[in-house]
């Protein structure tokens, strides 16, 4: 649908409003099968939050095992039943929990919950469109995600348990029912769920791309777009180009599991017999997986980068520093993200020469990443900093991105990775940079755009408490893990007691687990704040509470479907005009025409 057609719908709707006759939209079309991008954004967000709580709770359970391997926790039996008989996790289920934690957080929370929420909410609002290019596809995107969620959720309750081969589900482990309990029905459900998830991502991504390219309002040239939009755009590009490869990897896996093919299987003796499969390569799957897997980490990272840029600039009352460099570095990251996947596979026995190429390309990606960091620093430099909760999370985002990005430089160098691979060093690296940092981007976005979503503010005091507990906790949890990793401590171990080289970290593991529990409750505080504020939060009374130049704040406080009551505003300037407006204000909105003699940026 083009903007004009939608305008018809929208003016139609607003006509009713003006006439004060309540044209009640049906509950189902308004809240469930909604085609309004803002409602779909909320659906993604709330589904994401529910998943995040489940995923985080899982981590509490397995951290209890890691921290206190010789104790029992009867309360776990209440939650997990047979799987934690006598209050002790069984190893099989420990691995299932780790696998589900990874899958849920990476895909359901930080991909769907993050891009799904903010691309949906912000793309039409910030480029000046009534809705997505295809609202119907957008609705489908959510419902595919929902269906994927249902399958994944069901897999938690089946007798053989959910998939348990790690979130990367490498065959042959994931391909052979004999290899582990989770490779049975649980794995089938995992694959079904993930296939649906890929469809959801593609529907969403294509829509975002189409909307950014085609639906911008008059005057909104590409270089006038806020960096959030650039970030969402490249996120979608990454997804659209890499998810199909993942899907093909999954399809081959489904064939190997069910139809006797040998794409990934060769020369295997398991369960007391030799399998007939020969000629396949288990490594092929890893190539297909990481061809998505690496771009995926940037799919998770870019939205946070975009939102942090926006929020930092807004709360510094100062333009983003080096807008063009920011866009170019996004392009650089996007292109390079496709060319580094094999850095996850340095020790699979790949050709050393190929390894060298991937070292080079991997360390190259540190350059645009560094540029972004410097630009954020110079954005707040000489600013007039306003520490809203969103701003704190954006600052935390930068701090964490630095910390986690730097450890990537160790891992990207194959000669170092040979020792660090699959140790807690990797766990620390990706949790800081992708786990926590991306979450900080997401929190920043939620606190900042909550007023736009619900017409109310979240509680600030709770927000501040949430921020400080989370950032302190995150560093306390993940910083020491680097040391464990350097000592060679492998990840995905259920118990280290028998290992002389690693069991001296037992005290540290217990400490980490305790902090995990505290941080978990801080997140519950956030969830409570979120849901209570939807209904009870302080009401937004001004149209533009953060004094932001971007278009979403030109809509009514409670925008209807169609976003603007009247015509869509025309854009005359870039998104970062934080300068004196001549009337005592410190910014000029994008829809304000240039003054006489004023030059566009």
């Amino acid at each position: 649908m083009n903007n004009e057609a939608m305008l018809h719908d929208a003016t139609h709707a607003s006509h009713h409003d003006h006439g004060h006759e309540h044209h009640e939209q049906h509950f189902i079309t308004k809240y469930i099968f909604s085609q309004d991008h803002k409602m779909i954004a909320k659906q993604f967000l709330i589904t994401g939050i529910i998943w995040a709580v489940i995923g985080a709770l899982m981590s509490v359970f397995f951290r209890l095992q890691l921290g206190f391997p010789d104790k029992t926790f009867p309360i776990m039996e209440k939650f997990l039943g047979e799987w934690a008989k006598g209050g002790k996790l069984n190893p099989e289920f420990y691995y299932a929990l780790v696998t589900m934690h990874g899958t849920i957080l990476v895909f359901f929370v930080l991909t769907a919950g993050l891009s799904g929420t903010f691309s949906n909410l912000l793309i039409p609002l910030q480029v000046g469109a009534r809705d997505m290019a295809s609202p119907f596809m957008n609705m489908l995107s959510y419902w595919f995600f929902f269906t994927a969620s249902v399958f994944m959720f069901i897999s938690l309750f089946i007798e053989t348990g959910p998939a348990s081969g790690g979130w990367t589900t490498y065959p042959p482990l994931s391909a052979l029912k004999e290899a582990s309990m989770g490779s049975g029905l649980g794995m089938d459900l995992w694959l079904t769920s993930m296939a649906l998830f890929v469809v959801s991502s593609l529907l969403g991504g294509l829509n975002y791309i189409a909307t950014v390219l085609n639906m911008r309002t008059t005057g909104m040239t590409m270089t006038r777009m806020p960096l959030t939009i650039w970030a969402f755009f490249f996120t979608a590009v990454l997804g659209v180009l890499s998810f199909p490869v993942l899907l093909s990897g999954f399809v081959l896996l489904i064939f190997d599991r069910n139809f006797g093919t040998s794409f990934y299987l060769s020369e295997i003796f398991i369960g007391g017999r030799a399998l007939p499969n020969v000629g396949g390569s288990a490594i092929l799957y890893q190539h297909l997986f990481w061809f998505l897997g690496h771009p995926e980490v940037y799919i998770i990272m870019l939205p946070g980068m975009g939102m942090a840029s926006e929020i930092l600039s807004n709360n510094s009352r100062k333009p983003i520093f080096g807008y063009l460099a920011m866009v170019i570095s996004l392009i650089g990251i996007t292109v390079l993200a496709f060319l580094v996947w094999a850095h996850h596979m340095f020790v699979t026995g790949m050709s050393p020469f190929l390894g060298s190429i991937f070292v080079l390309l991997t360390l190259l990606i540190a350059v645009p990443s560094a540029v972004k960091v410097f630009n954020w620093l110079t954005t707040i430099w000489k600013g007039n900093l306003r520490f809203t909760v969103g701003m704190l999370f954006a600052l935390g985002f930068v701090s964490l991105f630095i910390s986690g990005g730097l450890t990537g430089i160790f891992l990207g160098n194959s000669a170092l990775d040979i020792h660090l691979h699959d140790t807690y060093f990797v766990v620390a690296h990706f949790h800081i940079v992708m786990g926590v940092s991306a979450f900080f981007g997401m929190f920043a976005g939620i606190y900042h755009w909550f007023p736009k979503m619900f017409g109310r503010f979240m509680n600030n005091t709770l927000g501040y408490i949430h921020f400080f507990i989370t950032i302190i906790g995150a560093y306390l949890i993940f910083w020491p893990m680097h040391y464990e990793g350097v000592a060679g401590m492998p990840r995905r171990y259920y118990d280290f007691s028998a290992w002389q080289s690693f069991n001296s970290f037992q005290g540290l593991n217990a400490f980490i687990s305790v902090v995990t529990i505290i941080v978990f409750f801080a997140q519950i505080l956030f969830v409570v704040n979120f849901f209570v504020s939807i209904f009870r939060g302080k009401k937004v009374t001004t149209q533009n509470p953060w004094s932001s130049p971007t278009l979403e704040w030109t809509t009514p406080i409670h925008p209807g479907h169609g976003n603007w009551d009247g015509p869509i505003p025309t854009v005359y300037r870039w998104a970062y005009d934080y300068k004196d407006n001549g009337e005592g204000g410190d910014f000029i909105a994008q829809n304000v025409p240039l003054k006489e003699g004023e030059e566009a940026h």
Binding site: I268, I270, A282, I409, Y494, Q500, F502, Y576, H601
Partner: protein, 343 residues
């Protein structure tokens, strides 16, 4: 019941925190929003700086507390390059870390909004941006050069005189095969595997197999100062031979043989002295998720002198003999050991 009480407790605590937070918002309204906003802003700037300072202190504390749990310096000649390269990278990234984090929190404090303060309008600076793009690029190039130098050393073909040992992973233990007197590992065929009498599927038509020795207790015996080349394989799923003390690691993939080689520098006995730990052992960890017993897939490496190694080797019976020789008492125990190890 206890769950119920716990949940109630949590709910109550949250309720209280929420009420306090709510009250503080109302107080803000009463005291005049602007003033409270300014106070909060100041408080947050200070808290962020406090967080930074405590964090830097914490990093030092963490370092001193954990360094004593570190594994000792590289026990392989090839791993020495790892250690020095790790230190170099640590210094480079450490400098960047300190500079950027300091700037971040310093700016937070310095440029906090104060009554009457204003932001400067600065949108870009091409020269500055060029500089900070070039410098990281050069630094990265430096790290790549060091890295590739080491990478080429590690991945170069093993020296001709290297001892050859095969390490095969299976759920959930390591099978280790020595080539015997002929120095050649005979052919294997996964179709010939039998947990009773042919754990690696040795092809008995290949005479090279007749003297091969298989140890099923996960002990890898190698000789100090003599390069050893590991031929790595797997019977079932992907495993990974992790040798943290030697800074080495390689996946064990079914159907594909991978290799690594290295030269041990210290015997196990020497390490016991060096680490002041009379129980010291080199451990082989499985570093690739392989199923429910992944965490228990432990092997050990015994680094010994050539003389000790020869003596040990002389006592080993070839796998063929273990299974086919008239039952001597020694063979019996080995066979029993092999069946108990199989699951």
């Amino acid at each position: 019941m206890s769950v119920f009480i716990l949940i109630t407790l949590v709910v109550i605590v949250f309720g209280i925190i929420y009420q306090i937070a709510k009250a503080s918002e109302y107080a803000a309204v009463l005291n005049g929003e602007e003033k409270v906003k300014q106070q909060t802003n100041k408080l947050m700037a200070s808290l962020l700086v406090a967080f930074f300072l405590l964090g830097m202190y914490g990093i030092v504390k963490c370092h001193t507390a954990l360094m004593k749990h570190m594994i000792p310096e590289s026990a392989s000649v090839e791993g020495v390059g790892f250690d020095s390269m790790f230190t170099t990278t640590l210094i480079v990234t450490g400098i960047v870390f300190v500079i950027t984090q300091t700037l971040l929190f310093w700016f937070v404090y310095k440029y906090q909004s104060r009554p009457g303060s204003k932001a400067a309008f600065i949108s870009h600076n091409n020269k500055l941006e060029l500089i900070w793009t070039t410098i990281p690029a050069i630094v990265m190039a430096g790290l790549v050069v060091i890295g590739l130098k080491n990478w080429i050393t590690i991945t170069s073909p093993a020296p001709k005189d290297a001892q050859i040992v095969e390490v095969v992973g299976k759920q959930f233990n390591w099978l280790i095969r020595y080539p015997g007197k002929d120095g050649v590992l005979g052919k294997r065929d996964f179709r010939k595997i039998s947990d009773e009498n042919n754990v690696l599927g040795l092809d008995w038509n290949d005479k090279d197999n007749k003297d091969d020795i298989i140890s099923q207790n996960g002990e890898l015996h190698i000789v100090v100062n003599k390069p050893v080349k590991l031929i790595i394989g797997s019977r079932d799923v992907i495993h990974d031979v992790g040798l943290p003390h030697f800074r080495m690691k390689m996946d064990a993939v079914p159907g594909i043989a991978t290799t690594i080689w290295f030269t041990p520098r210290y015997t196990t006995a020497e390490m016991k002295v060096k680490t002041n730990n009379p129980d010291f052992v080199y451990e082989i960890s499985c570093d690739q998720m392989c199923g429910k017993g992944h965490y228990s897939m432990r092997g050990t490496v015994i680094v010994e002198t050539q003389a000790e190694h020869d003596a040990w080797l002389a006592k080993q019976q070839s796998y063929w003999d273990v299974n086919n020789a008239p039952a001597t008492p020694a063979a019996d125990t080995a066979a029993v050991a092999s069946t108990t190890m199989n699951n």
